[in-house]
Assembly symmetry: C2
Homo-oligomer: 721 residues x 2
């Protein structure tokens, strides 16, 4: 065991050393960095590995783009790479890295006009690169090989870190004698060290002009759940471009490292507690005739009356495009949403002290919500009959690698009811009609270091889309001298909850902002607030003193659509197509239906809140603009917050009867509790996009009930029966 | 067809006539009212009918009470009846009816002390009767046969209607020539008439001193969904005790009766629309080894680490009692909740006009949330492997009848994740651990005339209880001359949405108030508000300007615990046991976790809001008091609202470290849309009771993941494969 760990450390150090070389030797082809190892392993898997658990595995090297929105293929990425690195800028560069290589989506009209069978619009790649310390954005035409540089203006901030950035930064401190001495002084053996790269955010001069990252470390002695064993107060500031240690601060020398006891969560490591939990008989969602959805050309999902394009994305995680619903009455395929995705996250921790104040993550723009989405575990992350989609992403040197099983698609049936009615004996009719509710779920799970975000896009056959975020994984905890609350005079001074001896779960928020380019029966839509207000009556009017009146108001400009939800001033939020009406004259629409959520309460002038200003409202509406997709700005790493959704919205552009984008922010306040130790039961919340007068009538009136004869016949497998 | 309908009308008239006789001939034994027919049919089922769809059907006539909280058995009800009707009050009475015959639950300490095997505490019945126009509440000792009259004070209001009340009232107008003429004048054939009994509420003198009900009617010509064909503006006021028609108002003569077109929802009646909806392959929750829960003695449910007592109730629907959780670390069975149930509903419609202003239903206290819960449809209301529980209720004459399959209990697996974590490549550990989330659901569905309320108590193996209410069924709609919005000058004047030609879906709210007698590790608990507030920092303190600080405050008295939820002043709401702490010193507790909800905005002095004052806050906490179980008061029918939860709470009693009851109100604003026509896709919302430092750590750390070998092997049935 000990030996193994030591070997691992050695190899990590080796890897780091080689990484340095890679960074400094331009266009290095050494396939030897940790990440390249990973890349090649993935690449190898394509051909060699047998598909695990009966999954059919695409051979991505021969993938072809078949839809204008299909992501770049392995071949296309290689082509982009060769185009880019042969460009003079790169040829002349001392060092560079590609931070983003994704499809540059064709203009909306082209995509909308495109039909199966048509030739694809010119394939282009959008590339973001760091070259000799400068950031460049390029549009690369795969056909002509032409490279156009995109002017991104003079905004602050840096592109999303590459996996190499994170790796390198994590191992950089190992090069510092002072660091190693400090670690040993804290009683941790170097071979037990695990470190994390933590984005610094921006708080002023100190975080300007250099691409910085803060490294904090943990002891993995006797546990894989090192997150519960922080070396509290030890923070190393590293320059990500020069890979230098700039500063080491240790103000936690008096804080013991929490014990490993009870921190393990792996099943293989559980021993004495199973018998205390009543075991549950096998239970499974079964579809002996197979699932009812189809996946065409790798990315078009068709289920019930839904049809949409689905693709993994290194920054957004998953992107749902061209979501359309076939009207059960007319048979017509109707537009609902052009593009929907997770745009940005904001996760501020609520501890102002030296080792914590800067923890205000923006996971999509800093770490890559897709880059951190790991392979899903069949049968546990997704049920049987799930379809798994791989992500094909570019490494820092532009080489493609495969993130297998990154997204799953499955049908869900929880025993819920789509609609029902029974007649009571009063009317004498013996009627009981009920319909089972079956949905289609698209799922990914991003593991941004300790935390796991489960994002579900759930499609209902009645046209509703429920977007759900589940929080699980492991808390970012703080070391403390305290082992019991009775030692604590000022509980608020803990900035959180004492979860275990010497372990504090620090209070934090989670905000997940979604980009929803709604195209309800066409691109030109309006945002309508249907406000409910008390209306007093006059004595002669009614024995009632009051009732609720619904008032519709159309948002003319962006500021009309900056929405803070209010329980005592409620509204519905409709996206309607003003030029299309139902038979009886209602404008067809979809509404945004919030559920449980939280609002950011930080000072608007607090640097983190300025950068996370897109959480200042729960709902925003902007006119469609290709360059406005990332709520925190294109370059959020160390950004000053001058290029966020809030800034755009302040322009107060016209949004009536225009191609509009709706932004919704789902929020969580998280005051940790002991149940979150050592790993958190999933907590989730959601919001919905619900048809409102989009259909002439209930669109699932015609679905059949379940009949016994149609249901499967099952038996326990021989291995267990 | 026509003939059939006419026969039905005749028989209904006959039934009505006989009902009159029943009401006036004391202690009539004629088993001939519609309801008795129903009773006997149910009784017959017990012995004769083969259990449908493999359900094991209890023979209730031989049921025995085995737990102090078990509902009255068939035998016990017969005994109660014979005791009561031989009591002098009833012997001397000209007419009477029993409005409620339920178990009088033994004092809490007795129940808590009771252990399996102990003799049952004395069995008593709580009886509410109307005798010669007066209301009486009695405690009936089944052993001694002693009848004690309970002083209910001088409060307004009448008991919950009996099924006979509703039936009689519905048919009473048929006796009026004027009514029949009006109906014919509105172009409706009497044989096509379907009428509904609508509670009048209270608006002043007019609704005092007499037990009144308003009857409104519909045409069922060419549809079973008569609700969509209102004879708008026709309202008949009936005296429920004398069965007289007091007033007939018709102010809708200019309003056509909407067409039957597209109103049918029964599967058998659907024709030309199926093919337009993509059919879905059979999908089912399968458990080849059977469900993992057991039902002991008919009412004790045991699943995973949960154990609780479950019973149907004529007023509350279902009652969950003695909910306990076995601690996975200690093996100890720990108290969580002594009693939880739906206490009252409040459903105000938002139309002040003559035929609508009074529609402000309180479904539990006026109609009986359990009395209106119809048999569930196996495979569609509940999945395979569900266990069905019957309700045994008393008819108006005290005779027991069986409401079969009224409640179902099943395990649900939707493909969700209990907890998960993957390690990213950064740390080099190859870990992906995920656990499937399986839950236990207790479900009932009340069909209060047109509306269907689906109430789910969902138990998670991590100790969380999610209480979900689904709204489906059929809208209460209003007739209108309009066939298209372009004819409408003032849309707000519609008080709702034009759903179809001549049909308006009127805006309304739904409030469902839950009674939650929490006993967290014992009866004496405290209610703690954990408030999150922005804390500004000083420049030298931190580069951060602000963070969120959690402040705990214990509610000393009831007024401290009158909670209005605020997005921008958020709190957690803990029920803690101040005398029990975790290993590291946190008080053990459960928290109430609201999700999406709505608040009543009616004028506090509006009569309906005075009666529904229990919705003035989302959360209330009261000291345990046997007589305070029904948020709207014991007698809500036509009550003036002087005996509601709001009144009790105003006493501002002490609640710190006491046996406390938490009340939570779940709310919905419903602005109907065309998708709700002719039947509504289910809309649901929920709230949770979540352990907070109740366990030392994640209680489901030890549950195993799914393994392929354990999962069932299924095949499509021969009939379909």
């Amino acid at each position: 065991m000990e030996g193994k760990k030591f070997l691992r450390l050695l190899s990590l150090l080796l890897v780091t050393f080689i990484l340095f070389i890679f960074i400094f030797i331009r266009n290095s082809d050494l396939p030897s960095s940790k990440n390249f190892h990973y890349v090649n392993k993935a690449a190898a898997e394509l051909e060699l590995q047998p598909p695990p658990r009966k999954l059919t595995r695409h051979v991505h090297v021969s993938d072809m783009a078949r839809h204008p929105l299909d992501p770049l293929t392995v071949q296309e990425m290689n082509r982009v790479r060769s185009i880019v690195i042969s460009h003079v800028l790169f040829k002349a560069a001392k060092c560079y890295a590609l931070h983003s290589v994704v499809l540059e989506e064709p203009p909306k009209p082209l995509v909308i006009r495109w039909k199966e069978g048509d030739p694809l619009p010119p394939r282009k790649a959008s590339v973001i690169a760091r070259v000799d310390g400068g950031t460049h954005m390029m549009s690369v035409d795969l056909g002509s090989g032409r490279v156009e540089f995109v002017d991104v203006g003079q905004v602050s901030g840096y592109p999303t870190m590459t996996i190499e950035d994170m790796n390198t930064a994590t191992f950089t401190p190992f090069g510092s004698k002072e660091f190693n001495q400090t670690v040993v002084a804290r009683g941790v053996d170097l071979k037990d060290l695990a470190c994390l790269p933590i984005s610094t955010g921006w708080y002023g001069k100190k975080e300007e002009k250099r691409r910085l990252i803060k490294i904090q470390c943990y002891s993995m002695e006797e546990t894989t759940n090192f997150y519960m064993r922080p070396i509290e107060g030890l923070t190393v500031i590293v320059d990500m471009d020069s890979n230098q240690v700039l500063e080491i601060s240790d103000n936690g020398s008096d804080i013991p490292i929490p014990q490993a006891t009870n921190t393990e969560y792996r099943f293989s490591a559980q021993k004495n507690i199973h018998h205390k939990i009543k075991p549950i008989n096998p239970i499974s969602i079964e579809q002996p005739k197979g699932p009812s959805f189809t996946v065409e050309n790798g990315h078009i999902i068709k289920w019930a009356n839904w049809e949409f394009h689905l693709k993994p994305d290194p920054r957004a995680g998953v992107i749902v495009s061209r979501a359309m619903f076939r009207d059960p009455d007319t048979g017509e395929l109707r537009n609902v949403m052009y593009k929907g995705m997770t745009s940005e996250l904001f996760v501020p921790y609520m501890d102002p002290s030296d080792a914590w104040y800067f923890k205000t993550y923006m996971d999509a723009g800093e770490y890559g919500f897709g880059l951190t989405a790991m392979p899903l575990d069949p049968l546990n992350d997704c049920p049987r009959n799930a379809y798994y989609m791989d992500g094909v992403f570019a490494a820092g040197d532009g080489r493609p690698y495969v993130r297998s099983n990154m997204v799953c698609v499955f049908e869900s049936y929880a025993g819920d009811i789509g609609w029902r009615h029974s007649e009571s004996p009063i009317t004498g009719m013996e009627i009981c009609e009920a319909r089972p509710k079956v949905t289609l779920v698209v799922r990914m799970a991003a593991s941004v270091a300790n935390y796991d975000y489960i994002v579900d896009w759930e499609f209902q056959n009645d046209g509703l889309v429920n977007i759900k975020v589940g929080l699980s994984g492991i808390l970012m905890v703080k070391g403390t001298p305290y082992t019991n609350l009775d030692q604590v005079s000022n509980q608020e001074g803990l900035y959180g909850t004492l979860l275990s001896e010497n372990v504090i779960g620090v209070i934090h928020d989670h905000y997940i902002t979604f980009y929803l380019d709604m195209d309800v029966d066409g691109s030109d839509n309006s945002f309508v607030k249907v406000n409910l207000q008390r209306q007093q009556t006059s004595p002669e009017e009614s024995p009632r003193k009051s009732y609720l009146k619904a008032t519709r108001s159309i948002a003319k400009t962006e500021k009309d659509a900056q929405i803070k939800l209010k329980l005592y001033d409620p509204s519905e939020f409709h996206v309607v197509n003003p030029s299309k009406k139902t038979r009886v004259g209602n404008p067809v629409g979809y509404k945004v239906v919030p559920a449980g959520t939280a609002a950011s309460l930080l000072d608007l002038d607090d640097p983190p809140q300025r950068r996370g200003a897109f959480t200042n409202n729960q709902i925003w509406v902007t006119p469609y603009n290709r360059s406005e997709e990332w709520a925190g700005g294109l370059f959020v790493y160390q950004s000053h917050g001058e290029d966020t959704l809030a800034t755009w919205s302040e322009r107060d552009r016209e949004i009536e009867n225009k191609d509009i984008v709706v932004w919704y922010t789902l929020g969580f306040h998280h005051i940790p509790c002991q149940e979150d130790f050592p790993i958190m039961p999933t907590v989730s919340s959601s919001f919905s996009l619900k048809p409102v007068n989009f259909f002439e009538r209930n669109p699932i009136l015609g679905i059949p009930p379940n009949f016994e004869k149609d249901l499967p016949v099952c038996q326990a497998t021989s291995s267990t029966s």
